[in-house]
Symmetry: C2
């Protein structure tokens, strides 16, 4: 976390840790968020996170935050942080009449810094065990891809296990098709082709998911979004999950199926590390 | 609203209007709520609201609030209120690790009093115009029926219109079947039979919905939960919507279809009024 005791949360630019109980973020989950990795004071994939946040604000008709302000506030918190997690939350603010949004909402802007999760280093190199969650992902197309504040399905899915050896749970849609992990996106490699579930009805369109697909293209690895079945995971030669904080975790076990961290997974993981480090070479994973 | 200036919000029993920004209610919509009508200082259908809240807490594995405490706090706010809306919110509180809930959550309990909405009286007697929302209801069975804090679909649906003559919007599931209104449950009467959509995959199992079904049974009106199609609404002789605040609103127009407030709707509306008034005869609607 931060190296010394300083402000860890800004609400609309002011050091604080309380919001109105009537904020629509609490009343209805009416808002969205970003989870940004911080390394050596730098916000990784900052522009991508800000772009997605603003695009998703437009989709929900929440006034977009000023990216410069958000960026400045994020940097202010992250300034002395060696390694941490910066969370940006935008809600539609207070007001409106029941579900009906106010005509001119005044969004609430919350920027907070959190400790880096202490996952075992071996999870990055040797891979992780994952499970299949009973909790399904519902969802209507209008919300698909958006990292919004309605996360009860993920909460219930993550509550299904407490075995510390199980790193992640795969969530299926209501038709039983794999979509993503509770906190990550899912990729499979089959006969040299990289695939990730299409997110047309549910799921979060992760920043790292998008970047992995771009890197694959640059590296000449065929890659596509597809409607996957559980059987496609079983017959895949490599499986991995991604997010902004974990980077790439190879999957080495799912129920009875075993894998070792495969060659394409390793190549993409290393490419992502170099890409994320950027010119400042802020090593994270 | 309340007749004089006194406390309108209690958080964990203390007069306050701010919660931690790290409350899981805000971070994930990890909680649920009740909307209770207040008449002459009395909480209408108090026991039913408390029962549902506790049952839904159990379904989400949130520790149940003490009903006596909740009741006392509700009564304290409602004491001098002639007509108002009492909202009870229970969240899983602060803590946990990401989506993963804390092992022993300390729920946040929010009780707040709000003004009675000033809907035209004619809506109760002559009925309301409703529309069909484009926003669909997704949803996985585990959350069906629960009045949880993940309400973004309702917010987006309610944002679709600002015509003050349109009182409510009907929401369809992802298969195009009518489920409920944005803030109400839906009933149709066809050839003397009362039907309301089954809530097996999405929707809120309203207190008034349940009470209307019970009253229908007592009155010898055949009543059933059913999978309805849009065509079933079109061919119905009567249509109405219900919730704890509006009671019963006959529907008199949906797109090009017109109805007048029908005889069964009137009988059920009157029966509900008498039932809600109870021994103290606190007239509400």
């Amino acid at each position: 976390m931060a190296d010394d005791r300083h402000v860890h949360c800004l609400i609309n630019g002011v050091a604080a840790d309380q919001v109105s109980v009537f904020d629509r973020g609490l009343q209805y989950g009416d808002g969205l968020f970003e989870t940004v990795a911080v390394a050596a004071g730098r916000l990784l994939y900052r522009e991508r996170h800000l772009d997605r946040l603003r695009r998703d604000c437009r989709r929900l008709a929440i006034p977009e935050p000023d990216p410069e302000v958000l960026c400045r506030e994020g940097q202010e918190l992250a300034r002395r942080c060696t390694r941490g997690v910066l969370k940006l939350v935008i809600t539609r603010g207070v007001g409106g009449r029941g579900y009906r949004p106010p005509e001119r909402p005044t969004p609430t802007r919350i920027v907070s810094l959190h400790p880096w999760p202490d996952h075992p280093q071996s999870w990055r190199t040797n891979g992780v065990r994952v499970r299949i969650c009973r909790q399904r992902l519902g969802g209507a197309a209008a919300l698909a891809g958006i990292k919004h504040l309605n996360r009860l399905e993920q909460v219930l899915a993550r509550a299904e296990w407490d075995d510390p050896e199980v790193a992640e749970g795969i969530m299926l849609d209501t038709d039983g098709r794999p979509v993503e992990g509770t906190m990550s996106n899912l990729f499979v490699v089959t006969d040299g082709v990289l695939q990730t579930p299409h997110l047309s009805t549910c799921g979060v369109a992760g920043i790292i998911r998008a970047r992995i697909m771009e890197l694959a293209q640059v590296m000449g690895i065929p890659c596509r979004e597809a409607v996957l079945e559980m059987a496609d995971i079983g017959r895949a030669q490599e499986v991995f999950v991604t997010n902004s904080i974990i980077g790439v975790w190879p999957v080495n076990a799912l129920e009875e199926r075993r894998w070792s961290a495969g060659p394409l997974t390793r190549r993409l993981s290393e490419a992502l590390m170099q890409d994320a480090a950027g010119p400042s070479a802020a090593q994270l994973w």
